[in-house]
C-alpha cells in the first residue's frame, strides 16, 4: 500500500524516496527490523481493539434484536392470551369488589331460590354454568379487607365439589370419599377461584401492555415475562368469562364452642349464587354446620371438609324441598340451624 505521505504534487523520484523512507529502506536493517516489530505490535493492538469493538457492537446489536423479539413475543402472547376477553369481561375484576360487598352485609336478607333453580336439574344447570367461587369469613369480607389475601386463601373446597358432584348419601363414609375426591381434583369443576382473576387482571390492562412496550432493559422485560408466565392466565381468563358468582360466607359462630383442629366449629354459612353481569341473586341460602355429628377421627382430620360437603347436600335438599312445594318465586323463609 502506498504511503499517504506521497501526493500528486511530488515528482516521481521524490515520491519514491518518501516511500523508501517510510518503509525503512533507508536505514540499517537492524533499525528497520525493530520498526517492523513495533509496527506489527501496534497493528495487532489496533486490530484487537477493532475486533473487540466490533464484537461488542455485534453482541449488543444481537441483544437488541433479541430483546425486541422477546418483547414482541411477550406482547403477542399477551394479546393471544387475552384475545377472547371482551371489554366487559376485562372490567370484571373492577366490579367484583362491589358485588362482593353487596352480598357480604352482616344482615341476612333471607333465603332465595330463583324459579328456574327450583329443581335438581335447574340447580345442576345453574351450577354447570361457569362461575367464580369464593369462600371467605363474612366478617373479613364485610370489612372490605384485603380481598386478594382472602381470595388467595379460598380454594375449590369440598363444598364446591359436593355441590357440583353430590355424594350419594350423607354418611360420614360417603362424605369422606367425596372429600378425598375433592382433594385430588378428580372431578372437573365449572368454577374458578377469584384469586387468579384478581392476580392476572392487571396483565390485560393497557397500562401493563404499555409497561411491556416501554421496557428498556432485558432485566425489566424478563421480570414482566416471568410474571406473565407464572400467572394463572387460563384460570383467570375462564374466571373473567364466568357468568355466575358463587359466594360462600362463613359467619362467626359461637366462639365459646370448642373448635376442631382445622378451626371448624358450629356456625352458619351463607351460600349465594348471583349473576355477574347484573349482580342478581339466583340462590341465597343460609344453613348451619356443626361438626359434632362426625366421628372423632374424622372430625380431627376433615371436620371442615365433611361439614362443607354436608352443607352442599343441605343446599340441594333445600332446593328439592322447594321443588316439592312448587311455590315458584317465593323466598324460602325458614332457615335451618342458626
Amino acid at each position: 500500500m502506498r504511503t499517504l505521505l506521497v501526493n500528486a504534487k511530488m515528482s516521481p523520484q521524490l515520491a519514491a524516496r518518501v516511500e523508501a523512507s517510510v518503509r525503512g529502506k533507508r536505514v540499517a536493517a537492524k533499525a528497520a527490523n525493530r520498526r517492523r516489530y513495533v509496527s506489527v505490535a501496534r497493528l495487532s493492538v489496533l486490530l484487537a481493539i477493532v475486533g473487540v469493538s466490533a464484537l461488542v457492537l455485534t453482541v449488543r446489536h444481537r441483544q437488541r434484536i433479541r430483546f425486541a423479539q422477546e418483547r414482541a413475543e411477550l406482547l403477542t402472547q399477551l394479546q393471544q392470551a387475552f384475545a377472547g376477553l371482551s371489554a366487559e369481561q376485562r372490567g370484571l375484576s373492577q366490579r367484583i369488589p362491589a358485588a362482593l360487598a353487596a352480598h357480604a352485609r352482616v344482615e341476612y336478607d333471607g333465603d332465595l331460590i330463583a324459579d328456574d333453580l327450583r329443581s335438581e336439574a335447574g340447580l345442576d344447570a345453574a351450577l354447570a354454568v361457569s362461575s367464580i367461587y369464593l369462600r371467605a369469613p363474612l366478617v373479613e369480607l364485610s370489612k372490605a379487607a384485603n380481598l386478594m389475601a382472602l381470595a388467595g386463601e379460598s380454594s375449590k373446597d369440598a363444598l364446591l365439589h359436593c355441590l357440583q358432584s353430590p355424594p350419594a348419601a350423607r354418611s360420614e363414609k360417603t362424605l369422606r370419599a367425596s372429600v378425598r375426591q375433592s382433594y385430588l381434583g378428580e372431578v372437573p369443576s365449572h368454577s374458578e377461584r377469584l384469586f387468579p382473576l384478581l392476580l392476572v387482571a392487571p396483565l390485560w390492562s393497557p397500562e401493563w401492555e404499555r409497561s411491556v412496550r416501554a421496557a428498556s432493559s432485558e432485566l425489566e422485560l424478563d421480570v414482566l415475562a416471568k410474571r406473565f408466565r407464572r400467572a394463572p392466565v387460563k384460570a383467570a381468563v375462564r374466571a373473567a368469562q364466568a357468568e355466575h358468582l358463587l359466594l360462600v360466607l362463613d359467619e362467626a359462630g359461637d366462639r365459646s364452642a370448642p373448635a376442631e383442629l382445622d378451626g371448624e366449629r358450629p356456625h352458619a354459612v351463607r351460600l349465594i349464587l348471583s349473576r355477574l353481569n347484573d349482580n342478581s341473586v339466583r340462590l341465597r341460602l343460609r344453613r348451619n354446620v356443626d361438626p359434632t355429628w362426625l366421628s372423632a377421627p374424622a372430625r380431627a382430620e376433615y371436620a371442615r371438609a365433611l361439614d362443607s360437603c354436608a352443607l352442599a347436600l343441605d343446599v340441594r335438599k333445600a332446593v328439592l324441598d322447594e321443588q316439592a312445594s312448587q311455590r315458584p318465586g317465593r323466598a324460602a323463609t325458614s332457615t335451618r340451624g342458626g
Binding site: 499517504l4 505521505l5 501526493n7 511530488m10 521524490l14 523512507s21 517510510v22 533507508r26
Partner: protein, 545 residues
C-alpha cells in the same frame, strides 16, 4: 551520478570511498556521530601516483611541522582546524601527472588574481566546517530537536550549492568545476525538492491576524483573518491527510507526531543529495590544500617575503631561484634572510662550503621545500624560480645517534651512503649535509670523491655540504668530476656570514670565530675554570648548620 567535484586532479575522480562515506553520512545525518567522519574519509583518500617517496625526505624536511605551522588557514579572526594528515600525504606525493600539476597551478593563480574567488572558497570552506560540525555533532551535545539539526544541515548544503553557482560562473581554471557541479545539481529534481522542503519549513503557512489592544496594552480581542497555505508545495497536505499520515506512521512503528512526518520528508530529500554530499567531503580536503597554500603565502608576505609559482624548465637549462628563503625558519617566528641561488643544469652536483652556522643546512632545506612545493603545484618560498622537475627527492640532513646503533660515526656514515645509493632514482634531487664528516679527513675525502663521482651517473640535482675545504679546492682546480660546481657562504667585512651564497670554495670554516662567538676560546675557558674553583672553595669554608 554526475561527474565528481575534484579540484586536485585534471581528470576528475572520486578519491574517497564513495559508498563507505555515503553510508557514514547517512548514519550521521540520522543520528549524529561522535566525530571523525570527514577525517576518516580523507585519511583513506586516494593520492595521485607519484615518483616521490615520503620516507626519503619527509622527516628530514619536517614535513608534518611545515603543514601544521606554515599552511595555516586563517579566516577572519580564527585559524581553522585542518585535516593535516591528508595535506601531509598530498605534499609527500607530488603528482607525476604534469596535467594535474598544471591544473593546480592554474587554480592557485586564479585565486591570487581574483580575490573574490578566494573570498568565496573561504566562505564555502566555512560552510563546510559548519556542515561537518552538524553532521559529526562536534561537542557531542544532546540534540533536542533532531529535525531542526537536519534542516540546518540541508540549509547549509543549499547555501554551498547556491554560492558555487553564483560566485564561480566566470572562473577559467579548475574553479569552474564549482559552477558546473552546482549548476548540474540545481537543474535536477533533488534541488527542487530541497528548496521546497526548506520553504515548507520556513513558511508553512501565512496567518493574518487582527488584534485589538487596549489602553493598558493588553490584548482585548484576537481574530484570525485568514490562513494561507502554499498549496503548490509538495510537502503541504490537507488537514485530514496530515492526520492520516501520522496515523499511518504510527501503525508502521514510528511516533505519532507531526515531527515524524517531517522527519520522513527530510530523510527523503536527503536521499536525493547524498552523492553530492560525498563530493563535499572530498572537496574539504582540496580546499584546505589551496587555502593552506594561500595561508603560507600570506605568512610570507606578512614577513616581507615573496612566494611564487615557479617556471619549469628543461633539465638541460639552468635553474634559478631569486630571494629564496627557508619556510621552516619562518614558522619558527624568525624572519629568514632570502638569498639567490643560480645553479647549473640538471645532472649537476653543487658542493656548498662555508663556516658553521652559515646557513648551509638551511639552504638545503629551502631547496628541498622548493622542489616539493613546486612539484605539488604550490607556491615556492622564492620571489621567482626556474626549476626542473625531479624524479624524486632524497634528503639526508639529520643524523641522530641511536641507542642501539651497532657502528660508530664512520660506520653510520657509510651506511648512510649505502642507503642513499640503494634508493636514489635517476634524475632525483639529492640533499646531503656534511658528507663523510665523521672520520679522518684524508680517508673521508676518498670516500667523498667516490660518492660524488658515482652520483654523476644518476644525473641528479645534488647539493652537498662539506667542511673538507682543501679537498673541495683541489676538486675545483682539477675539475676531475664533470658537472661539479661550487658555492660558498658569503662573509661580510667582519668575516661574519651574510647568509648569501657566491661561487667558489670557502677558505675557512671560521671555527675560531664560531668558538669565540660561542665562548670557547682559551681565555674564556680559563675564566670558567677559575670561577668554578672559587665557587668550590667557598662552599668548603662555609659553616655547617
Amino acid at each position: 551520478m554526475q561527474s565528481p567535484l575534484d579540484l586536485l586532479h585534471q581528470a576528475p575522480r572520486r578519491t574517497i570511498d564513495h559508498e563507505g562515506t555515503r553510508l557514514a553520512l547517512t548514519l550521521a545525518f540520522a543520528g549524529g556521530t561522535s566525530g571523525g567522519l570527514f577525517a576518516d574519509a580523507l585519511d583513506k583518500a586516494w593520492i595521485a601516483p607519484s615518483t616521490f617517496r615520503a620516507e626519503e625526505f619527509a622527516n628530514e624536511l619536517f614535513l608534518q611541522r611545515f603543514v601544521a605551522q606554515c599552511m595555516k588557514v586563517r579566516i577572519g579572526q580564527s585559524d581553522a582546524v585542518l585535516q593535516t594528515r591528508y595535506m601531509a600525504r598530498l605534499l609527500a606525493s607530488p603528482p607525476s601527472d604534469l596535467h594535474t600539476l598544471q591544473f593546480r597551478r592554474l587554480i592557485l593563480a586564479e585565486l591570487v588574481s581574483q580575490p573574490l574567488y578566494r573570498k568565496s572558497i573561504e566562505q564555502i570552506y566555512q560552510s563546510l566546517c559548519r556542515l561537518r560540525s552538524l553532521l559529526e555533532n562536534a561537542g557531542a551535545l544532546r540534540v533536542f530537536d533532531a529535525n531542526r539539526r537536519r534542516l540546518d544541515i540541508l540549509q547549509t548544503f543549499r547555501s554551498i550549492i547556491d554560492r558555487m553557482v553564483s560566485d564561480f560562473a566566470g572562473a577559467r581554471s579548475g574553479l569552474a568545476r564549482f559552477h558546473e557541479f552546482a549548476a548540474n545539481f540545481q537543474a535536477g529534481e533533488a534541488y527542487t525538492a530541497l528548496v521546497d522542503l526548506l520553504k515548507y519549513d520556513a513558511r508553512s503557512a501565512l496567518v493574518n491576524l487582527r488584534m485589538a489592544v487596549g489602553a493598558d496594552g493588553s490584548i482585548n480581542a484576537f481574530e484570525i483573518v485568514s490562513v494561507q497555505e502554499d498549496s503548490t508545495n509538495p510537502f503541504v497536505n490537507s488537514v485530514w491527510r496530515r492526520w492520516l499520515s501520522k496515523f499511518e506512521l504510527f501503525v508502521r512503528g514510528y511516533r505519532f507526531s507531526d515531527g515524524e512526518v517531517l522527519a520522513r520528508f527530510i530523510d527523503s530529500v536527503f536521499g536525493g543529495l547524498e552523492n553530492e554530499l560525498v563530493d563535499l567531503v572530498q572537496l574539504m580536503g582540496a580546499l584546505e590544500f589551496y587555502l593552506g597554500a594561500l595561508g603560507f603565502r600570506d605568512s610570507a608576505v606578512a614577513a616581507g617575503l615573496e612566494v611564487c609559482l615557479p617556471e619549469f624548465v628543461q633539465p638541460s637549462e639552468a635553474r634559478e631561484l631569486r630571494r629564496l628563503f627557508n619556510p621552516l625558519l619562518l614558522m619558527s617566528g624568525v624572519v629568514p634572510i632570502p638569498c639567490d641561488i643560480v645553479g647549473g643544469a640538471l645532472a649537476s652536483t653543487v658542493l656548498v662550503t662555508g663556516p658553521n652556522s652559515g646557513g648551509k643546512t638551511r639552504l638545503l632545506q629551502s631547496l628541498g621545500w622548493t622542489q616539493v612545493l613546486a612539484q605539488c603545484g604550490l607556491f615556492i618560498p622564492a620571489a621567482s624560480g626556474r626549476i626542473a622537475l625531479a624524479s624524486g627527492l632524497v634528503a639526508s640532513l639529520i643524523e641522530e645517534a641511536k641507542a642501539d646503533q651497532a657502528e660508530g660515526r664512520l660506520g653510520m656514515e657509510l651506511m648512510r651512503i649505502r642507503g642513499l645509493f640503494e634508493r636514489l632514482p635517476p634524475g632525483a634531487m639529492v640533499l646531503l649535509d656534511e658528507l663523510c664528516s665523521g672520520t679522518n679527513p684524508s680517508e673521508g675525502e676518498q670516500i667523498f670523491e667516490l660518492v660524488v663521482s658515482m652520483l654523476n651517473r644518476l644525473e641528479p640535482q645534488a647539493f652537498i655540504t662539506t667542511h673538507f675545504l682543501a679537498f673541495a679546492s683541489r676538486l675545483a682546480q682539477t675539475s676531475k668530476i664533470p658537472g661539479l660546481s661550487f658555492i660558498q657562504v658569503e662573509l661580510d667585512v667582519n668575516r661574519r656570514p651574510t647568509y648569501q651564497f657566491t661561487r667558489g670554495v670557502a677558505q675557512t670554516s671560521l671555527a675560531g670565530h664560531t668558538a669565540e662567538r660561542l665562548g670557547v676560546t682559551g681565555e674564556q675557558l680559563l675564566g670558567l675554570i677559575e670561577q668554578n674553583i672559587r665557587k668550590q672553595q667557598s662552599l668548603a669554608l662555609a659553616p655547617v648548620n
